[in-house]
Amino acid sequence: MTNDPSPAARILVVDDNESITTTFGWMIEALGHEAHVVRDGVSALTEARSYLPDVILLDINMPGMNGYEVCQILRTEPKLANCIFIAQTGWTESEHVEHAMQAGFDYHWAKPIPMDRLEKLLNSVNRRSAV
């Protein structure tokens, strides 16, 4: 047992598709974690800096600032040094994966994201922050 009052992982979901943000938000909560959602890149920058999530689930194709740019900027943020960045996108060619890795993502997941994979990751984050 730890002293941390909230063992839940904090996840920031960024996607311009409202159906995505809504369902991810509810699902993450249903899995016992905490979620904040925003729907564009610029809001993601502000929200990430104040919310300090453990995981950022980031869409790539968004109007204005795209996911690669958001990731690149937030990667320089010392307070987010341990944050896990996941690119979630419909593009699955190797060049897209490469691009995501260069932008600083930890994972590149194709939509739709398998639930068990997300759940496993969130639980591992949970354990990590609990240690």
């Binding site: 995505i20 899995l31 790539i60 996108t89 593009w91």
Partner: protein, 718 residues
Amino acid sequence: MSTVEAKQSANRWEQASRPLQADASAEDILLIDDLPENLLVYQTILEELGQNLIVAHSGEEALKLVLKHDFAVILLDVNMPTMDGFETASLIRQRKKSSRTPIIFLTAFTDEVGMIQSYASGAVDYLPTPVIPEVLKAKVRFFIELSQMRRQAALQTEERVRRQAAEESARNAAFLVKVTENLTRTRSQSELLRALVQLPVPYIADVSITWLKENESYADQIECNFPLGTETEDRPSTIKLFELPWLKEAAEEVMETGEIHFMDKTPPSSLPHSNILSFLGSVIVLPLLVQGHVRGCLVLARQRSSVPYRFDDISLANDLAYRVGAVLENVMLMEKIREADRRKDEFLGMLAHELRNPLGPIYNAVHLQKLLKPEDPRLADLRDIIDRQAKHMCRLIDDLLDATRLAHGKILLRKERCDLNQILHETIGDHRTAIEASGLQLKVISPNSPVWVNGDPTRLVQTIGNLLHNAHKFTKAGGVITVRLEAKKNERLATLTIADTGIGIEPKMLSCIFDVFRQADQGLDRSRGGLGLGLALVKGLVELHDGKVEAVSHGLDRGAEFMIQLPLESLGNAKMNDVPAAPLSSDRKYRVLVIEDNQDAAQSAQMLLHLEGHEVRMASAALSGLDVARDFHPQIVICDIGLPEIDGYQVVRMMRQDVTLASAYIIALTGYGRQKDQQQALKAGFDLHLTKPIDYTNLRHALILADSKYDKMEATSP
């Protein structure tokens, strides 16, 4: 002449250094004498030489013969009546053909005057008569050999000229082969141009210039090549084609007319002395033709100090240009294919992306349904999300199939007289809520009376819907979408414009905005999604309606306006008793058999049919389905095509052969909505072909069609 004789004569004539050629064809010898006995003597003496001895009995006869033959030597009797030998000789000399033929005079007078006169009239020799046979033979033999040698020399000259021509033509052929070889390796028009400009120098030109006209994939491209050894600083660093007004003019004329232009000399140049173009002499400008159209031109030029172009060079240049045209056509075709291939690949990537996008929320929502408690109010939202996203996927797939059908000309319109005004308002009704929910204002301006057109209402709804969807998608909250319908009776046109205040269209995109896959070019900001097929479909469908569509935009962020024009239906064409509208719902209740191996699809169909009050039985395979059918006697059978063991086509054939089942209304259910699949299903014996997923709308549609079949059957039965 026999071989032995030839050898003998060769020995005898060793002094003359060249033997008579045994294989040379016989020479013609003309013998002229008015006395037949003399002629006979000469003939006898000369016979053994084996030549053609031709005789003439008078000067007149001889003159006729010299016109026909090319004599090696002429023996001429001086003393003849009417025309004597001297006169005959000078007349023979006057004939061009015989002006140099050796003439030997035969005369009894060996005085000096006679000799002088005979030489003056053209003799090369003379013999006193009566002749000594050996002397006559020796002289004649000498002239035969002389003639043979002359012929031989002429033959050799001819041969040399021929060989030179053959060598030149071989060199030209090698040059053309090299050209073709080098050019066929190139993969783009610009590469071809760069390769081409290198080839004519120095073989056929001192300077070569190529110019490709601007086309859809390339801007104007000009390349220049100069002879080796030209100092680098003397080469024009940029293309100087247009620094020479006459050259520019000539090139433009060739581009215009497609005809070769040749200049023997070129006007003096005002260019600095160091510029190589200032030394140009003769110039050929050739069109590069692709399927009869001028794609560009090739300029070949020689310096003033070089030999000017001759006819042969022009012909070679023409050959060269022809070959370049053929290769250019191939390269253009290859570029087109590569471009289409690239676009297709891009499109496939985008298609996967666009299909994955709605799949995400559906997947999430389904999982959430498991996680949430049954009383959770959010379950209703989840259902809405699934509904919305599934519809979105269906629309993508429908668009994709429609685009394929359009591309293959397989969309068949069910045209009827219909009111475009009504269709417009129905379509707007479908979209208004969504548009207004995005914070957009929707203004509609339309006449109060019907606007009759001859069209397929479903396709017109799709067309207008696509344009509304497009305007919605590309306009931010606070914007306005204005829809205006007008019937221009004078022009017999219905005009529908849909204008928005959205992101607009770049001028360079305007021309290709209706192309399939075009939206793929928008790159990373695919936030608005879609396959980019909507406008291509609009164009295709409007054109199938004999109408046209135009897009107008004043640039980015300045909105866009799409205008559709359709021919108005004249009253004369209208049927007075229009077909009554199909009933909206079916009252009949049926025994329905669903044969489907996909449990989920089967269950959802069963639920929908139950709700409508029909009696439903299920089977998950073909054989069990046939068993159930024989027992249940269904009036409607819905049968999947891709069944295990026996496929749906087989099932329908077996049912049609069974008297108790033959009259059932049998519906094929497949995942493929292609025209081919539909035709195959109808051919196999199905009454109708439905594309999965089976939903409320298409099931209802199918039942109404079944009604009409049963109505007809009842009407015809006693």
